[in-house]
């Protein structure tokens, strides 16, 4: 396992470099945005008195390279400033938002990958027939649906027509307090149901299609023929010879899907008023709340980079060749 730990370390160092570069890119993007992140504070009577402090804290009056380093320092030490839209420190908002987003996406990823792999390998094995064609077309359809569109449809049907699920939000707040104990968990899951099912519906299709294609590729390999020739049961061939190898592209796709689907989260979270990172990002952009926008983008990027590292580690675990 020595090769594995070496690989982990190597990958972590790479990740750190990536985060550094991505943070720099974010800094450049926000430098290019019109307006100064602190201007709104000067205009707001609540914050007017700390305006000079904010300028100093973010080095806004310094030359660009000083500004840049101050920015990097602030990002790495999680000093994100204050969100003027929500009248709260950005870090407080993110401390609540990140777990929510992780819950939504982690849950959705878990469901879509486990379900998708099962369905994909099933239709991969049962070649031909109407079932396969229907599954492919359905998957392709859901795969290409705009998330916000299907989100609206889900809301219309399951909230307005049927009333099964809430219109949005993270949880029910009664008298400023969330529910207690088991009720709270049930309540959160109830709120999660719609956005999560939309995510699963859209992203699972990709997994199904990829799993199927990947399985078909693997099925043509000689070692499958060998395994069958050895007289192994089909079940065993499928489990131990075909599927494990077919997972490899799935894991690769995970890396790409992550950046892509977290991006899509912005809209989905907004539609369902699910107060996650994406929701706050869009609100920040629409309200020119640059501190909040910058921090959420940074956090989203961090999540993507970490996701990638995890995917790579999984890949390495599945395919030992990679570790070399």
């Amino acid at each position: 396992m020595a090769s594995m730990s070496r690989f982990v370390i190597k990958r972590l160092i790479q990740g750190a470099i990536t985060i550094f570069i991505v943070t720099s890119i974010i800094w450049m993007l926000f430098e290019a945005l019109p307006g100064d992140p602190a201007t709104k504070f000067a205009l707001d009577p609540r914050y007017r008195f700390i305006y000079p402090e904010i300028r100093a804290e973010f080095g806004l009056d310094e030359v660009w390279y000083v500004r840049y380093f101050v920015y990097l320092r602030n990002m790495f030490t999680l000093q994100f400033g204050i969100s003027i839209t929500y009248n709260r420190p950005v870090l407080d908002l993110l401390a609540l938002a990140v777990p929510r987003t992780l819950m939504l996406f982690g849950g959705a990823l878990l469901i879509e990958y486990s379900l998708g792999v099962v369905i994909g390998s099933y239709i991969g094995w049962r070649r031909g027939g109407i079932g396969e064609g229907a599954a492919i077309v359905t998957s392709l359809f859901t795969y290409n649906m705009p998330s916000f569109w299907i989100g609206i449809i889900f809301l219309s049907v399951f909230y307005l027509e049927l009333g099964w699920f809430p219109s949005g939000g993270f949880e029910t707040i009664v008298g400023g307090q969330p529910l207690q104990g088991l009720d709270r968990i049930r309540d959160i899951l109830w709120h999660l149901a719609l956005p999560m099912s939309v995510l699963v519906l859209i992203n699972m299709a990709g997994v199904i299609l990829l799993m199927r294609t990947s399985l078909l590729e693997v099925m043509g390999e000689d070692y499958i023929l060998t395994a069958k020739a050895k007289g192994l049961t089909e079940r065993r061939v499928r489990r131990h010879h075909a599927n494990r190898n077919a997972y490899l592209p799935i894991v690769t796709s995970f890396t790409i899907a992550l950046a892509f689907s977290i991006g899509g989260a912005i809209i989905l979270e907004s539609i369902f008023s699910y107060f996650g990172v994406g929701y706050y990002f869009l609100q920040a952009i629409l309200n020119q709340d640059q501190f909040l926008a910058g921090a959420t983008l940074y956090i989203i990027s961090l999540l993507v980079v970490f996701g990638n590292i995890i995917a790579d580690l999984m890949y390495a675990w599945l395919d030992p060749r990679v570790r070399l």
């Binding site: 359809f141 219309s156 043509g220 991006g263």
Partner: protein, 725 residues
Amino acid sequence: MAIFAPWLAPYDPHFLAPDEDFFALSRFNVTFGPGTAYYPPVVGPTRPTYTTPGGGIWTIVADRSGVIHMILATEPISNETPIRAGNTSYTIDIHNVRLPSGLLAKPPLSSVAYVVPALSGASTGEYITNGALAFVANSTFLLYDPFSNRTMYAFDLGFVPNWFVEDPLSAGQMYGIPQEFQECIGVVCIKFTYRYFAVGAANRTLVLRVNFRWPQDTTPVSGKVLIDRNVTLDRPALIYDNNNFLREASSGIFFPVNGTQLNVFDLDGIYRKTLNLTFGGSAASLTTPLVPSRALELPVLFASVRSTSTGSGAVLYLNSTNISRGDISVERTFALPSPSMSVDTVTDNAPESGSIRVYVAANIYESGRAVRAKAFRLDGNATIDSILQADLPEPVHDLYYVFEASRLYMLGNSGAIYSATTVSQGGIRSGLVVFSPADAARMYIRLVGGFQGSIYAVSHLGASSVYGLSFEPATGRVGYYQFIGNTLAPLPPGTYPSGNHYWLGTDNIGQDVLSWTIFGARVAFLVGVLAALSAVLVGTLVGLVAGFHGKIVDTLLMRTADIVLVLPGLPVVIILTTVLGQNVLWIVVVIAILAWPGIARVIRAQTLSLRERPFVDAARVSGASNLRIMFLHIAPNILPFTFLYMTLLVAGAILTEAALSFIGLGDAKAISWGQMLNTLNSSGSTTTAWWWLLPPGLAITILSMGFYFVGRAVDEIVNPRLRER
């Protein structure tokens, strides 16, 4: 589909459903039956302006043969007809009308005037009563009470006139109500109102003044000939009685004579001045009747003229400080924007206090024939303002302005009624729409006002209770139109009163969803294909170079690609478009910036394997340069992959553009599917208008799917291994 959109789409992308579809409009018809020669209908309010409820509107249609039809329309309850069963209607045959001489009246009948009841001082309620009819039967002028079949006043003209008019104030067409006056000789006093009528024939023009208040008034009606001249007028006279307010300044009697002159009299019939109509230094002739300002505080007359030398048209503002002193002049001149334009319709102005605004529809001539028209609004300085400028596809011959609805209504020669808004109503509906489709029988339109008994009810009538009327002289059919009803849009799919069929309904401002969906394919294709093409171009180049050169170049390029791959797509697209600008081309660029690395990676891998192939060695041995090997030997082999990834990218680009537009950060001017969903979301009809929600989303999905299928087909060609399985 994108290219053929103009042929496939039932409507233009900027098409708006006509008002009759867009609004819940009430319209009703009453047919009086065919007559021999109907005059344009007259509208008679029981109360000229605003007062207690209970009034109604008389619609009066007179036939030259001697029959007068009157029917009362009252405020409809919900969508009922204003002409309900049991409503009063009268038919007066002048053959049965007895003159004071004991003889019966004879045809031909002149056009009929409705004389509104007067306003009796400070009292209220009295003018709820009906007015009276004035007309000329053969050569006898009659003031007639149709409700009690009583001739109130008769005067023998001694000739059969070919035109007959009433002053607009007596007809209730102005902002005011005729005021009651009292004159005393000693202790004997008489209450009266000024009522003016003018009649004319060849070589004869006569102006009468009558003291009528209302039919039940016990004061005997008497009349007086103010002017009797042996002149032929070019057009019927205008008697502008501005009642009490600024009476001296504005009121007068105007005779258009000699082609280019106005003979001006005061209201006592005393000749004061001859005004020469000039425009551009030469004499000008009237092209329409003179139009008075409807508002009493704006004593202005409008004269549409045409220069006798150059033939170009103009609208003149006539103003006076004191007609009794003869000081009336052309205060302002507005030359029509094009010499081929002519105002052939009656211009109209609105009783908007404090400002002079005149609504003009000028017909545009080509080789002597009116072919099109342009409607616009002139302000007090005689300049076209930017509020209303509408191009009409056909010449118009009638118009009026409904200030309650802020709309100008015009009757085209085809019988179509056009409507143009004169305010931008929250940016929602503006510009020209067809209010009612072409109808050859329709000849006249008129403003009715509210059915509560007023034409120009000010400030208390909602736009939805203002009605108009159209008339078909051949069939005797009167149609009542509600101008602005309740907004119905987004309209569900179906056929609508205008005859238009909206296969997929309309959106909240009346745009056809099917047309938008079809036209939306353009932006989708443009963004999808352009973004994918540029991403593929960059990606292929980078992949080729990296794969072929290896070493430091490879490392640099691939690290860059990795970094871009890690960037969260949509958030970065959002920020970049905010920085660069929200238009379609920048969106394409931004999408391409984020999409190239994926391709670069794949192409690099392909290049790496191709680089080691014997044919590359062969090329190198024969002395081919690196560039030549890269582009002539390796590139052709990776092109199929390039194409494959392009098709897959198109779908992503389409989805990204749609998402951007949906959250309102896309190109707001683009006709795109995302924009459609964005307006849907902001309109608040998301959950009801399924016909508006489903098409754009389905279109996005199906187009993306289509490209995906193309990609799969390419994939099968590129990877022959896939084919057999």
